[in-house]
Amino acid sequence: MRSRRRGKKTKNLWLVLCFLLGSYLSPPPSEAGLREKVSEHVLSNGLKVILLENHKAPVVTFQVWYRVGSRNEQWGKTGLSHMLEHMMFKGTKKYGPEEFSRIVQENGGDENAFTSTDYTAYFENLSADRIQVSLDLESDRMHDLNLQEDDFQTERMVVMEERRLRTEDNPQAYLMEQLEATAFQLQPYHWPTVGWMENIKNLTLADLKSYYHTYYNPANAFLVVVGDFSQKKLLADIEKTYGSLPPGVKPDQEKAIDPPQHGERRIFIKRQAELPFILMGYHVPNLRNGDSYVLEVIATILAGGRSSRFAREFIQKKQLVLDADAENSLLSKDPGLFLISAEPLPGKATAEVEKAIDREIRRLQTEPVGTQELRKAKNLLEASFVSSQDSLFFQAMLLARYEIVQDWRAVDEYPPSIGKVTPQDILRVAKQYLIPENRTVAVLVPLTTEGKKTRGSEFSLESKTVR
């Protein structure tokens, strides 16, 4: 993520904790379905184009998604996908470094990019009449990036600052990284998207060039455009700008999958922190397996809304935790983790909180969920479907994420698949996946913050000159 704000990365704790919209980021009011409204075209060079007209505001979101993320990296070269994302703003033969952002801003637009384990995506949000700006700039950098050593040296420092900001100095994010490194032994999800610091330091310009060459081409990318345009006209313009790009080769996307785990794994991380934190990750399938929809409902029963089981039992009744959450990874390209997290209140032992979580899981495995409670969970999921459609940006992102995992059309299967979930499904799925043998537990043990002190000083920087 290149933004100045703290962003959301797919494999990032911030997502687990605060990505309310995203965690159930989901399809639209089910009646019509997106299949009828979205059009798909494939240019002769292999570029797929996904278009959705939405005329509620005179704006468009133009997004280019590359099927490359940290899952495509090699051991020792972690962080390469994300590093390349940063370098994509450093110019082409036609446009100088940072000119990309400047041109978009001069056209009243916003631009940025984000990288996950599974994809790298670039976007511009613009007034509808400025869409040609995206076409020109994005098609150019899809094939003609000008990678320079000095830009790279500086930008690598920026990425290291990004890692410090998001991970090194954030004990909960650090814990998440360690959990994944423990839960995944074979899958590339073993390493963080931003990369290990030691690897970032040693990336080279040659690494970037060959990575760009392999993964950035029309056959390994697709466009998603949502907003106020006419499909026919836009498609013709896309053909004009992108049609002449040389076709690429589809890179191999098959990755190893971790074999079943035989027994719980458990780690303790000691860091300067105020409160402990618990993370549990259970291996689960993605949307290619119907059980993943059952897990969506389970996550909502546990932690969706203010009347969820966690909220009622842990926060309101027992006053055990400051916060507790559950999140499924429906849209992970390779099988991901069903995550449970909890931050105990001061004075509460992590063991006590863990026991309480286990009790709730046992309840799921032994007591059928009541009709009313199940209905409530489904209503919550359905309503967040509708409201996630309110933003053009998220609508495009939704289509793209399904396309990355399987096919954008699978979006339409979400509402009926959720609707079909029964109390028996929940019993069965909870018993199958939410078992200790299948999980990794990571516990943050706060080191006391002694030596922490404040002082005021009057030192001045007046005498210091800048080079």
């Binding site: 100045r4 637009g109 007034s127 900001l165 809304g305 001061p346 409530k376 001045s460 210091k464």
Partner: protein
């Protein structure tokens, strides 16, 4: 998720400064808005938007943390959070069950100026959702036991936020800058002040300030003006108003340069450089918006990002903003850099403030700022949530319904000389307050004239 609200409070404060800098535009893209004032003083704003079967409502009450009595900091926050703990008709559990069953969300956020309740509900559940919202506002019961739980949770959330260096830096900065001001203390109070707040204080605060004559009700979405007038206005009209006591607000700002340093075992120095800012109603707001865009508000292309990030790779994130509120707020440059680069980054930032005062900005920079600020307006209003936020704040800060039309000319009339003038009038590079949370030894912050950096 709920307990992350303290984060949201901080974000709200930031958004106030940044958000207002980003609004405006021709009126093109702006759906029509109907404004009326009810007999009880409540301002009602309605805007129809029928693309989804969804309605978003914001009730904004002029009861932010600046109203906290001295010694009871956090009272506005606890009062607002307490609304969801139960009413005379429904228990906390019942309220939550009802909301979740509708798939609705009711979120409370508290800022320094105002408190806001935002309801997002499917059209079919609008009546029931609205009734719950009004019930929490007009008939909260603040059950004693639950109130104590809320206090304990808030204390814990404050403790938890202590491990986030950017939060620690912001609190230290405000404490140093606002010497005697209702804007000084954290919205959620401190662990000491929370201990002094009793349930009766909350009841009193509620009856003093939760009143329609200092509130704004904004409704956007799949609802017609007629529906609002026929079935919602009667409910809103039943809300009795109180007479809200006149406010005495004053702030004393610290002079600089002054530094507060906090030692943590972390890899980056979290830095805030700043000083007193402006009120939202200051007529120089628009010239300052342009000036700040060029200095550090405009992301890539702004001078701070260019000098500190793009040219030198010293930071991932660096930005500046004016937090312009109902009263005079702060100006801040916020950045994070590895400990060893702290001094260099601070020097660079201050140098950029000075440069802003020394020379006219280039024509290209001015043009780019204006084009972005005026051209990006429709992007900010493409969701119900954004529209509701925009309309409520436009009303709260008295900008007038024609504000979107005026904005373009307000921005476009700013010239290079005016940018220079406001930089000279409102930036104070020699009188900054500097807050640094870092590994101070690595940052070499202790001795002035040290050689960290180059």
């Amino acid at each position: 998720m709920k307990r992350r609200s303290i984060t949201k409070v901080l974000v709200t404060i930031f958004a106030l400064g940044i958000g207002l800098c980003l609004q405006g535009h021709p009126g093109y893209g702006m759906p029509p808005v109907k404004r009326s004032v009810l007999a009880n003083g409540l301002v009602l704003l309605v805007s129809e938007e029928h693309s989804l079967p969804l309605v978003t409502i914001e009730l904004l009450i002029d009861a932010g943390s600046r109203r906290d009595p001295a010694g009871k900091e956090g009272l506005a926050y606890l009062t607002a959070q307490g609304l969801l703990l139960g009413t005379k008709k429904h228990s906390e559990v019942e309220i939550n069950e009802k909301l979740d069953y509708m798939g609705a969300s009711l979120a409370v956020s508290v800022g320094r100026d105002y408190t806001s309740l935002r309801l997002r509900v499917l059209k079919k559940d609008l009546t029931e959702g609205l009734e719950l919202l009004l019930e929490t506002i007009t008939e909260p019961s603040f059950p004693e036991e639950k109130f104590h739980r809320e206090v304990r949770e808030t204390e814990a959330a404050i403790q938890s936020s202590e491990e986030r260096p950017e939060v620690v830096a912001e609190k230290a900065f405000r404490k140093k800058l606002f010497l005697d001001s209702p804007y000084s203390h954290p919205v959620e109070g401190t662990r000491e002040s929370l201990g002094r707040i009793k349930r009766e204080d909350v009841v009193k605060f509620h009856s003093a300030y939760y009143s329609p004559n200092i509130s704004i009700f904004t409704i956007v979405g799949d609802v017609t003006v007629k529906e609002v007038e026929d079935s919602i206005v009667p409910k809103l009209s039943a809300w009795h108003h109180a007479s809200v006591a006149a406010e005495h607000f004053s702030t004393t700002f610290a002079g600089g340069p002054e530094t507060v340093e906090i030692d943590r075992d972390i890899s980056q120095a979290n830095i805030i450089i700043g000083h007193q800012g402006i009120r939202r109603e200051n007529p120089d707001f628009y010239a300052l918006t342009v000036m700040n865009y060029i200095l550090g508000g405009g992301g890539f292309g702004s001078r701070l990002v260019d000098e500190i990030r793009v040219k030198r790779g010293l930071a991932y994130s660096v930005a500046s903003f004016f937090g312009a509120g109902k009263y005079q707020g702060s100006f801040q440059i916020v950045l994070q850099t590895k400990n060893a680069s702290a001094r260099e980054a601070i020097s660079l930032a201050i140098e950029q403030m000075k440069l802003m005062q020394r020379e006219l900005v280039s024509k290209q920079e001015l043009q780019r700022a204006k084009k972005y600020l005026t051209g990006s307006f429709p992007l900010r209003l493409d969701t119900q949530r954004e529209l509701v936020d925009f309309l409520s704040r436009m009303e709260y800060y008295g900008l007038g319904l024609n504000y979107p039309e005026r904005y373009r000319s307000l921005i476009n009339s700013v010239g290079r000389e005016e940018v220079l003038r406001v930089a000279r009038d409102y930036l104070h590079p020699d009188e900054y307050i500097l807050a640094v949370v870092a590994n101070l030894k690595e940052a070499n912050m202790a001795e002035p004239g040290g050689s960290a950096g180059e």
